[in-house]
C-alpha cells in the first residue's frame, strides 16, 4: 500500500476539464480540445501506475490521511489503485480518448444543441466512472455510483423532448433505486455486521473478501445474506440484470457516443464492476459458498446460484428480445443487457477460470460493443437511418463502418479471433470444471452465442447482401409472434403488431416475397453525382410503390427520431469509398476500436487486460494461477475461507 495522489488525480482530471469545458463554451474547438486533453491526461495518469500495479504495488489516496478529514465517522473516503480498479479505469479512460473524437464528429455532424452541457456531463461521467474503479470501500463506491447516475441524467435527457424526459425519469428512478436504496441499505448493513465482531466496523475492500464480514456472517447469516442480495441488486440495476434492465433500452434516446461509451462501457460496466467488487472483495467466493440459502424443495444452495440463475435468464431472454427490435440502437441495448449478464454469470460461478473469463469480458465486450455503437452513430449521422429494416444495401454507402460492425458482431457472438471468444472460452472452461448443474450455465452461454448471431447477423446481411430495392422479409421483426400463413407481413417492428391490424389490411400487396421482388422495377436507379447526395431526404418518391411503402410503414412508435426520415434516398445508396463515407473524426475511432477488439482476441496475452484479470484472481484465491487449475473446486473454496 503506497500513498500516492495519482488515483485522485485520475479522478479529478476530468472534473477540472468540466470547468474548462464550461468556461470555453463559446469556442467549440477549444472546448472539445479540453475533452481530448483530459482524456489523454487521464489515460496517461492511469498508465503511469500500471507497471507498478502489475508488479504488486497498490497506490492509495485517503482523504483522512492527507487532510485529516473523516468523511463519515469511522469511514474514510479513499481511492485505491489495485489491479481490479486499474483494470476498469484503464479500459474506461482508454476508450474515452477515441470517444471524445467521435463525440465531436457526432455532435457537430448533427449540429446538436447544448453541446457544452453534453461534453461537460461526459467528462463528469468519466470522472465518476474512474472514481468507481478506484473506490477503496463501499461508501466511496456508493458516492461515485450515485454521482454517476446524476451526471449521466443530463445525457439521457439531452434531447429535451417528451421521449427523452420520460427516459430520463425512468433512468433516474431505476438508478437511484439501485444506488440510493439497495446499495445504501446493503452498505449500512455490512457496516453494522462488521461492527459486531472484532476488527470492525469496516467497509474497505479486501481481496478474497472482508475478514470481519466473514466472521460476522457466522453470527448473523440471515442478515449477511440479505446484505449480499441488496448489494447485488444495487449494482445489478446498472448492470441491467432482469428485471431491472428496462431503463437501458430507453436510455438509447441519448446521443450515440453516450450510448456507446456510457451505456455500453462506463455506466453499465460500473454495475458489473460493482458486482465483481462485492463477489471478490467484499464477500469473497468462499464466504458466498459458505452462506447457504435454504430453498424449500431443493435444499441448500450457495448464495451465488440465484445470481447466476438471474444472469443466465437475463442473457437468454435479452438476446431473444433483441431479435425483435428493429431500432438498431435498441437492439444493441438488449445485446448489452445480455452481454453484461455474461460478466455477472461468470463472476457468480465463482470458479477462477470463470472469473477470469468474466473479467476479461469487460474489455472484450467494451471494445466490440463500442464499435457497434460507433457504427450505429455513424450511420445515423450520415444517413439519419436508425432502423435495420431501412438499412438494406447500406454496405455500399458505408463500407468501412459496416465492416467494423461485422467485426463487432463477431465479437459479440464470441467467434475467434475476436476478443469475445477468449472470455467466453474461459467461462465455459470454468463452468465445465465445476460440472453438475453448472452445465446449465454453460448451455446458456452457448445458446446465447447462437442467439447473438441470430440478432446481429441480419444487420450485416441486410447491409451487404441486400439492396435497397431487393430484400427479404424479416420474419421475426415483421410477423406476429408465432408466425403467419402468409410469408409477408406489415413490417411491424415489435409487439404492437396485434393492434396494427388495420395496417395489415392494406395487404392488398402481394403476399409472396418473391412476387414482391418481381413487381419492383426500379432497377435503373441512377446514382447521383452530387457531392452531397440527398441522403437526408425521405423515401417519399419510393413510397408510391409497394416496396417503399413497406419500408416506411415499419411501425416506429416508441422510438425517437421519427421526425427524421431514415432509409435510403430516392436514388438508392450512393457508393462511397471507405475514406469518404464520413468524417475522419468518426471513422478513425471506429477503426481503432475495431482493431482493438481484434488485437484483444488474437493476442490476449500481450494486451494487458488478461494479465490483470489473472492477477486479480490470484489475489483473490491467494495462489498462482497455474496452480488453481490443479486444485479441485470445492477445496479451492475452503482454501479461501481459511
Amino acid at each position: 500500500m503506497v500513498a500516492d495522489i495519482r488515483p485522485l488525480a485520475a479522478v479529478l482530471v476530468s472534473a477540472v476539464a468540466i470547468v474548462l469545458i464550461i468556461a470555453s463554451h463559446r469556442r467549440p474547438n477549444l472546448r472539445e480540445g479540453w475533452s481530448v486533453v483530459a482524456a489523454l491526461a487521464k489515460f496517461g495518469i492511469i498508465v503511469s501506475m500500471l507497471p507498478a500495479v502489475i508488479g504488486g504495488t497498490v497506490f492509495e489516496w485517503s482523504l483522512y490521511e492527507s487532510t485529516g478529514i473523516q468523511f463519515l465517522e469511522g469511514i474514510d473516503f479513499a481511492l485505491r489503485a489495485d489491479p481490479l480498479g486499474i483494470f476498469f479505469a484503464l479500459l474506461a479512460s482508454f476508450l474515452w480518448i477515441f470517444t471524445s473524437f467521435y463525440a465531436t464528429g457526432y455532435m457537430r455532424g448533427l449540429d446538436e444543441h447544448a453541446q457544452t452541457r453534453f461534453f461537460a456531463s461526459f467528462a463528469a461521467s468519466l470522472s465518476t466512472a474512474v472514481g468507481i474503479a478506484f473506490a477503496a470501500n463501499l461508501v466511496t463506491i456508493f458516492v461515485f455510483y450515485e454521482l454517476l447516475s446524476l451526471v449521466t441524467y443530463p445525457l439521457v435527457a439531452h434531447n429535451e423532448d417528451d421521449e427523452a424526459r420520460i427516459a430520463g425519469r425512468k433512468y433516474l428512478t431505476y438508478t437511484f433505486f439501485g444506488g440510493g436504496v439497495f446499495l445504501l441499505a446493503g452498505t449500512a448493513m455490512v457496516y453494522w455486521l462488521t461492527s459486531l465482531v472484532e476488527g470492525g466496523p469496516t467497509l474497505a475492500f479486501e481481496a478474497g473478501g472482508m475478514e470481519a464480514l466473514a466472521a460476522a456472517a457466522q453470527a448473523e447469516p440471515v442478515y449477511a445474506q440479505a446484505a449480499f442480495f441488496l448489494l447485488i441488486a444495487g449494482f445489478g440495476v446498472k448492470a441491467a440484470l432482469m428485471p431491472l434492465h428496462s431503463w437501458l433500452a430507453d436510455a438509447m434516446v441519448a446521443p450515440t457516443p453516450v450510448s456507446g461509451l456510457l451505456h455500453a462501457v462506463a455506466v453499465v460496466k460500473s454495475g458489473a464492476f460493482g458486482v465483481a467488487r462485492v463477489i471478490l472483495e467484499v464477500y469473497g467466493p468462499g464466504l458466498i459458498r459458505d452462506l447457504p440459502l435454504d430453498v424449500p424443495g431443493i435444499g441448500e444452495i450457495g448464495l451465488n446460484i440465484p445470481v447466476a440463475i438471474v444472469a443466465a435468464f437475463t442473457l437468454t431472454a435479452a438476446s431473444i428480445i433483441a431479435m425483435r427490435k428493429d431500432h438498431l440502437k435498441r437492439r444493441l441495448a438488449y445485446s448489452t443487457t445480455a452481454q453484461l449478464s455474461y460478466i455477472v454469470l461468470g463472476l457468480s460461478m465463482l470458479h477462477p477460470y470463470a472469473i477470469v473469463g468474466a473479467l476479461f469480458h469487460i474489455p472484450a465486450h467494451a471494445f466490440a460493443k463500442l464499435t457497434l455503437f460507433f457504427c450505429a452513430g455513424a450511420i445515423h449521422v450520415e444517413t439519419h437511418t436508425d432502423y435495420i429494416s431501412e438499412m438494406a444495401g447500406i454496405g455500399k454507402r458505408m463500407p468501412l463502418t459496416m465492416t467494423a460492425f461485422t467485426i463487432g458482431a463477431a465479437g459479440m457472438a464470441g467467434l475467434p479471433p475476436i476478443a469475445g471468444f477468449v472470455s467466453k472460452f474461459y467461462m465455459l472452461i470454468g463452468a465445465g470444471d465445476v460440472g453438475g448443474s453448472y452445465w446449465l450455465f454453460a448451455a446458456a452461454l452457448l445458446l446465447s452465442a447462437v442467439l447473438n448471431i441470430g440478432y446481429l447477423w441480419p444487420v450485416v446481411y441486410t447491409a451487404f447482401f441486400e439492396s435497397e430495392d431487393r430484400h427479404d422479409a424479416k420474419p421475426l421483426l415483421e410477423f406476429p409472434r408465432g408466425g403467419v400463413v402468409q410469408s409477408y407481413g406489415d413490417g411491424s417492428d415489435d409487439d404492437h403488431v396485434a393492434t396494427d391490424g388495420g395496417e395489415r389490411a392494406n395487404g392488398t400487396e402481394p403476399t409472396d416475397t418473391t412476387e414482391t421482388e418481381d413487381t419492383v422495377v426500379d432497377e435503373e436507379f441512377e446514382y447521383a453525382v452530387d457531392k452531397y447526395p440527398s441522403d437526408h431526404t425521405g423515401p417519399d418518391d419510393v413510397a408510391t410503390d409497394d416496396q417503399g411503402d413497406r419500408v416506411s410503414s415499419v411501425n416506429h412508435h416508441g422510438d425517437h427520431d421519427d421526425h427524421l426520415t431514415g432509409g435510403p434516398p430516392a436514388a438508392g445508396w450512393q457508393r462511397h469509398s471507405p475514406f469518404t463515407e464520413s468524417t475522419w473524426l468518426m471513422l478513425a475511432p471506429i477503426a481503432v476500436i475495431a482493431t482493438g477488439a481484434v488485437v484483444l482476441g488474437i493476442g490476449p496475452d500481450y494486451a494487458v487486460f488478461l494479465e490483470l484479470a489473472i492477477q486479480i484472481v490470484e489475489d483473490v484465491f491467494g495462489m498462482p494461477f497455474e496452480e488453481l487449475s490443479t486444485v479441485p473446486f470445492d477445496e479451492l473454496m475452503t482454501e479461501v475461507t481459511e
Partner: protein
C-alpha cells in the same frame, strides 16, 4: 476567556433589545431596519462562532441568570448540541438578510419581527429550563405569526391565524405536559429534571406529561396529520420570510423536542416507558411517507417544499424514535446533522424560489420551465440543493441520512430502516420533477408571462460575470450563461447578494458533505453524556 459565559444571555438579549431599534429609529429615518438587523445578526454570528470555539474545545458553557441556583433559577446552557443549532440560526439569519435587502419585505416593522424571531429562536436553543422554553417558543411563534401575516394578500392573514390557533394550542399542550412533569418532580430545570424524573413517585404523571409534550411538538414540528398550518404559512409568507421560518422555526422546535428526549426524560427512561418509542417512530415514519406523497402532488413550488419539510422532519422524528428504541448514538448524530442540514438546504431552496419569483413571478412548477438557460447559477444551485435533499453524496443531506439509516440498521428496526432508505426515492420523486422542468423543458411563451427584465445596460455585468464561474458540478449552460443575468442595473429585482447567498448555501451543503466525521466528533462528548 472568563467572560465567555456572558455570550449565551447576550445572544438572546441583544436581538430582542435591537428589535425595538427599527421602530424607534423609524420615527425619524425611513430605512434603518436592514442596517440594524444586519449589524445585529452579524454580531450574533460572530458571537456564536466565539461561543462555538470555546464549547468545542473546552466543553459546555453555562450561564446562571441572576445567580439563582438552578433548582429554581434559570440556566442558559451552550453545549455541543445547542451550539450547533445556534450556529445554524445566526448563520441563516445573517444570510437571509443578503436577500431581503433588495428582495424585501422592507418595512422597519418587518425587521423588528425579524430580530424578535431570532432572539426567540436563540432562546429556545440555549435555555436549560422547560418553562423558559415555553416562553421562547411563544416569542418565536408570535414573531412568526406577524411575519407570515406581513405577506401581500389577505390570504396571508388567514394562514397566519390558522397557524396562530394551532400553534397556540400546541404550545399550551406543551405547557400542560410541563405542568404534569412539574407536578411529579417539583422542578423545571432540565438537569434537575433528569435526575428527578426517574425518581418520581407517580410515573403516570410523567407519562401523561410526555404524551402532551409529544402532541405539542408534533404540531410545532409539523408532523402529519398535524401539519396543516405549515404549507399555507410557508406559501403565504413573504418570499423573504419563508427561508427564515422554514429553515429555523420548525428546526428549533424539533431541537427542543430532541433536547427534552435526551436530556430531560433521558433515553433509558423513555425506552422503559411503554409505547413511547413506538409512538415517536410511527409519527416520524408516517410523516415521511405522507409528506412526500403530498409534496409530489403540489403545483406550487413553495408549497411543494413545505410538504417536503414535513417529510424531512419526519426523518428527524423517526431518528429520535430510533434513539429511544435502540439507544442509538448514531441515530442521534444523524438527527442532529439532518436538523442542521435540512435547515441549510431549505434556506437555499426557499431563497432560490424567492429569487425566481422576484425575477419572473414564476411560482408553479410548470413556470420553472427553461430556468436553467435563463438563470444558470440559480438553477444550478437549486439543483445541487435538491440533490442534497435527496441524499446524494457528497452533501450534508446524505450525511444525515446515512447516520439515521445506520442507526436504524444497528438497532435492527427494519421497517424504519426501509422507510428511511425509501425516502431517498420519495424525495427524488418531487425533486426530479422540478429539475426536469428547469433543465429539460424548454420555456414557452405561455409558461412565462413575465418575460425577463429589459436588457438595457450591462452596467452590473462585470461583477456578475465573476459570479458566473461554475459553482457546481451541475452548473451547465448553453452559451447563454451570462445573458440571463444581464438586466437593467437599477431596476433589476435581483441583486448580486441574492444570487450569492443561494450559491454560498449550495456550496456549503456540498462542503459539509465531507464534514460527516468532523461533526460527529464535535458531538461526541454530548452523545456519550446523554447515551449510556
Amino acid at each position: 476567556m472568563s467572560n465567555i459565559d456572558l455570550i449565551p444571555p447576550l445572544l438572546i438579549v441583544a436581538p430582542i433589545l435591537a428589535a425595538t431599534l427599527p421602530i424607534a429609529l423609524g420615527l425619524r429615518y425611513d430605512r434603518t431596519g436592514w442596517s440594524v438587523a444586519t449589524i445585529t445578526s452579524t454580531g450574533l454570528f460572530a458571537a456564536a462562532l466565539a461561543l462555538a470555539s470555546v464549547v468545542y474545545t473546552s466543553g459546555e458553557v453555562i450561564h446562571t441568570l441572576g445567580g439563582y441556583p438552578r433548582t429554581y433559577g434559570i440556566q442558559l446552557v451552550a453545549d455541543e448540541f445547542s451550539t450547533l443549532i445556534v450556529l445554524l440560526i445566526t448563520g441563516v439569519a445573517a444570510g437571509v438578510l443578503a436577500y431581503t435587502r433588495r428582495g424585501g419585505p422592507r418595512g422597519n416593522t418587518f425587521y423588528t419581527a425579524y430580530l424578535l424571531l431570532v432572539g426567540g429562536l436563540l432562546g429556545i436553543s440555549l435555555t436549560g429550563d422547560v418553562f423558559n422554553l415555553f416562553v421562547f417558543l411563544e416569542i418565536t411563534s408570535i414573531a412568526t405569526y406577524a411575519l407570515v401575516a406581513s405577506g401581500d394578500g389577505p390570504e396571508s392573514a388567514v394562514a397566519a391565524l390558522k397557524y396562530l390557533i394551532l400553534g397556540t394550542v400546541a404550545a399550551s399542550m406543551y405547557l400542560l405536559g410541563v405542568a404534569f412533569v412539574f407536578m411529579a418532580t417539583g422542578t423545571l430545570n432540565m438537569v434537575e429534571l433528569s435526575t428527578a424524573i426517574p425518581a418520581a413517585e407517580r410515573p403516570v404523571l410523567i407519562q401523561t406529561g410526555f404524551a402532551f409534550i409529544v402532541v405539542g411538538f408534533a404540531v410545532k414540528v409539523a408532523q402529519w396529520p398535524l401539519h396543516t398550518w405549515q404549507p399555507s404559512a410557508y406559501q403565504q409568507a413573504p418570499d423573504g420570510v419563508t427561508p427564515l421560518i422554514a429553515a429555523l422555526v420548525s428546526t428549533a422546535s424539533a431541537y427542543a423536542f430532541g433536547r427534552l428526549i435526551v436530556t430531560v426524560f433521558e433515553v433509558d427512561y423513555l425506552a422503559a416507558m411503554p409505547n413511547a418509542a413506538a409512538i415517536v417512530l410511527t409519527i416520524g415514519c408516517v410523516s415521511v411517507l405522507a409528506g412526500t406523497v403530498l409534496a409530489v402532488i403540489q403545483t406550487e413550488v413553495k408549497r411543494m417544499l413545505a410538504y417536503s419539510s414535513v417529510s424531512q422532519f419526519g426523518l428527524v422524528i423517526a431518528a429520535y424514535g430510533v434513539v429511544i428504541a435502540g439507544n442509538s448514538e448514531t441515530a442521534l448524530t444523524g438527527a442532529v446533522i439532518h436538523l442542521v442540514g435540512h435547515g441549510l438546504l431549505k434556506t437555499g431552496l426557499f431563497l432560490g424560489a424567492a429569487l425566481v419569483a422576484a425575477s419572473y413571478g414564476a411560482r408553479t412548477v410548470d413556470e420553472y420551465a427553461g430556468l436553467a438557460t435563463d438563470r444558470p447559477i440559480v438553477a444550478g444551485s437549486m439543483a445541487v440543493l435538491l440533490f442534497s435533499l435527496v441524499g446524494i453524496p457528497p452533501s450534508i443531506g446524505f450525511v444525515g441520512k446515512w447516520y439515521i439509516a445506520l442507526g436504524a440498521v444497528e438497532s435492527q428496526l427494519w421497517p424504519v430502516a426501509a422507510v428511511i432508505f425509501l425516502s431517498t426515492m420519495l424525495t427524488l420523486a418531487y425533486a426530479a420533477r422540478l429539475l426536469e422542468k428547469m433543465y429539460f423543458t424548454p420555456a414557452t411563451v405561455v409558461e412565462r408571462p413575465h418575460a425577463r427584465g429589459p436588457v438595457a445596460t450591462d452596467g452590473g455585468d462585470a461583477d456578475r460575470d465573476d459570479d458566473s464561474t461554475p459553482d457546481s458540478e451541475v452548473e451547465i449552460d448553453d452559451g447563454r450563461a451570462a445573458a440571463g443575468l444581464r438586466g437593467g442595473a437599477a431596476r433589476n429585482p435581483v441583486s448580486v447578494g441574492m444570487i450569492a447567498i443561494v450559491v454560498v448555501v449550495a456550496l456549503g451543503a456540498v462542503a459539509l458533505g465531507f464534514a460527516g466525521g468532523a461533526i460527529a466528533e464535535l458531538l461526541e462528548p454530548f452523545l456519550t453524556e446523554v447515551i449510556n
